[in-house]
């Protein structure tokens, strides 16, 4: 198989190699085989599977015949890694496609501005109440988590370095990241059952539940960012006689602010889609409720999706997809904000 072009390489490596572009050759052959399978009526999935298998077996086999076992293994692993990536992308594309395709037809000005109050049968309803509820509940969670999370990170990095409390907190924060979301919901529910009354489900409860899930994320990301602030900066400030707390608020935090904001926004986007804790702690309500402290349930978008699905009607299912699209867009926008903030602040290393 070797041709003149490759003879140079052959002498330097002192053994036979596959021709250049061999993977493309095998690839074309594999596609052809897949096409043949398609023609023979194996269906699109069968054809793709055959094509991929042909490539995964054919390419290493060729390498095994021409080169050696090590090279064949390498080619096999390379093929597998690419295949794994290809397979992992399938659910994402499928999911996004379904959410957009089924959700888009539901979205309308009415859907975004109506609540489900007194909506029966085929009447037009909407998720305005759920959208507002999600913003309020998540807002409360953010108001609780951001100060606590950032201050905890400051303690861990600036004050407690290596002492026992800091070690314990670091460990507990790690463990806290693993709290099942429904347990957070049950906690808030149990807490307010005792404080307010049995069966209390309200917006603030949902906020407390979400903050429990959000705090560890905020601590973690802030901690990472504070670690990146060079010690020279702190020492320079101390040398000028600046008190420690002013050094932190005036030097360290501003330097790390971009990363901290990114981390916080990502933390919000992680909890905004939580369903189980809100189902338990803030309940469901077809009406608009803008008071998080009133002892009545507050609807949120994830719970809206869940309850609409439970309606077991065609309208309910389509509303659920509509809600999914709204939630999806919300999360994507937050992610985008996080990235933009990240890039704006990234080049600056000092003030």
């Amino acid at each position: 198989m070797s041709n003149i072009d490759l003879s140079n390489e052959e002498t330097t490596l002192s053994h036979a190699t596959l021709p250049r572009g061999a993977q493309w050759l095998v690839g074309v052959a594999a596609i052809a085989l897949g096409g043949l399978a398609l023609v023979l009526g194996m269906g699109i999935v069968g054809a793709v599977v055959i094509g991929v298998l042909a490539f995964l077996i054919g390419y290493p086999l060729w390498a095994l015949l021409v080169e050696n076992r090590r090279s064949a293994t390498d080619k096999l692993i390379t093929g597998l890694v690419w295949t794994a990536f290809g397979i992992a992308v399938i659910p994402l594309i499928w999911l996004v496609y379904m959410v957009v395709a089924r959700g888009a037809s539901v979205i309308s000005p009415e859907f975004l501005t109506y609540s489900m109050r007194s909506v029966t049968g085929d009447e037009q309803g909407g998720l305005y109440h759920a959208l507002m509820g999600t913003l309020i509940v998540t807002g409360i969670a953010a108001l609780i988590s951001i100060p606590i999370g950032i201050m905890t990170a400051i303690y861990l990095i600036e004050y407690g370095k290596g002492n026992r409390l800091a070690k314990a907190i670091t460990f507990l924060v790690d463990v806290m990241t693993g709290i099942p979301s429904i347990v957070a919901g049950l906690f808030a529910f149990a807490l307010f059952t005792l404080l307010v009354g049995p069966g209390t489900r309200f917006g603030f409860g949902g906020g407390v539940a979400l903050s429990l899930l959000m705090i560890p994320t905020v601590v973690r990301s802030t901690e990472e960012m504070l670690k990146l602030v060079p010690d020279d900066l702190r020492e320079a400030a101390y040398a000028l006689g600046v008190p420690k707390w002013r050094t932190i608020t005036r030097m360290v935090l501003p330097t790390a602010i971009g990363g901290i904001v990114t981390g916080v926004v990502l933390a919000i986007s992680r909890v905004i889609g939580e369903t189980a804790p809100l189902l338990v702690a803030s309940g469901f309500n077809p009406n608009m409720n803008s008071n998080a402290f009133d002892d009545s349930p507050m609807m949120t978008v994830p719970v809206f999706i869940f309850t609409q699905l439970s309606e077991a009607t065609a309208k309910g299912v389509s509303y659920a997809w509509g809600g999914a699209l709204v939630l999806f867009v919300l999360v994507m926008v937050l992610n985008l904000i996080a990235r933009i903030v990240g890039t704006i602040f990234a080049p600056k290393t000092g003030r």
């Binding site: 390498d74 990536f85 499928w94 950032i150 693993g178 420690k244 002013r246 189980a276």
Partner: protein, 318 residues
Amino acid sequence: MTVAADPGADPGVDPKSDLSGRGSVGDVVFRGLAVAAASLILVALAAVFIFLGIEGIPGFNVDAQHYAGQGSFLGLVVPLLFATMYAAVLALIIAVPFSVAIALFISHYAPRRVAVPVAYVIDLLAAVPSVVFGLWGAVALGPYLVPAHAWLAEHLGWLPFFDGQPSGNGRTLFTASIVLAVMILPIITSICREVFAQTPRLHEEAALALGATRWEMVRYAVFPYARSGMVSAVMLGLGRALGETMAIAMIASPKVVISLFIVGTQNPQTIAAHIAQGYKESTPDRLSVLIATGLVLFAFTFLVNAFARWIVARGRAK
């Protein structure tokens, strides 16, 4: 902006203050706030235990009728705990090879202009709310996988996992664990990717210089270096899988049972799904049973996470 007006800025005000400003009023207050916030984490975790305990402990021993037909708390929680672990382990078995492969793809295999968007796309998966995953799994993936269920039951029926009458609608633990795997994949991938990328360049280049193929370089230079990070990634994924509620609750048809069979109509129900499905219509007694199972889940995930940290810490110490 009024630096001069602040007493903390003037070391002379407080006789105790030294050059670093320690001891000034502002410092004491700020330090106090930081300590308070950090301690609040301790308090919060303790509060979770305490309040779940107060509301849940009565649930250990109520009328037998409140244990979903299982007669006693242990009779209920043991199968639920089994299912919780089983579903999580199944998800890990599916997710870990893919995650490692994709992490390698991003860090070592793909060309850079492909790797960056791929990393972003995988991170997007992490941002999809679990209820959307549940919706997709129940409505789209489940029915699609019905032939796969039948095939598994027919050809691999000698394995206990597939031994029995296959489901006709895909509402099974098999489907649920695939969805669960997709959900934990980004978590494991992103951590693995980071530790792979941190492999010292010199090690990698040394391996290649010795004539190693790319795979051999990964195997002998990257993996040994990344081992403890990979364990920690897997453990984090496990933690997430143990607590995942909605995807399983919305997809698998539930039954409180200890069974390995995953493609049939009676799928072992996890603790989280049991709570989510039982809470909406429950009398106080039933509710305290549910909270008690939640307490067990919390204690269990606490132990798993603590164990994971211990492994990672040990790996780091080496």
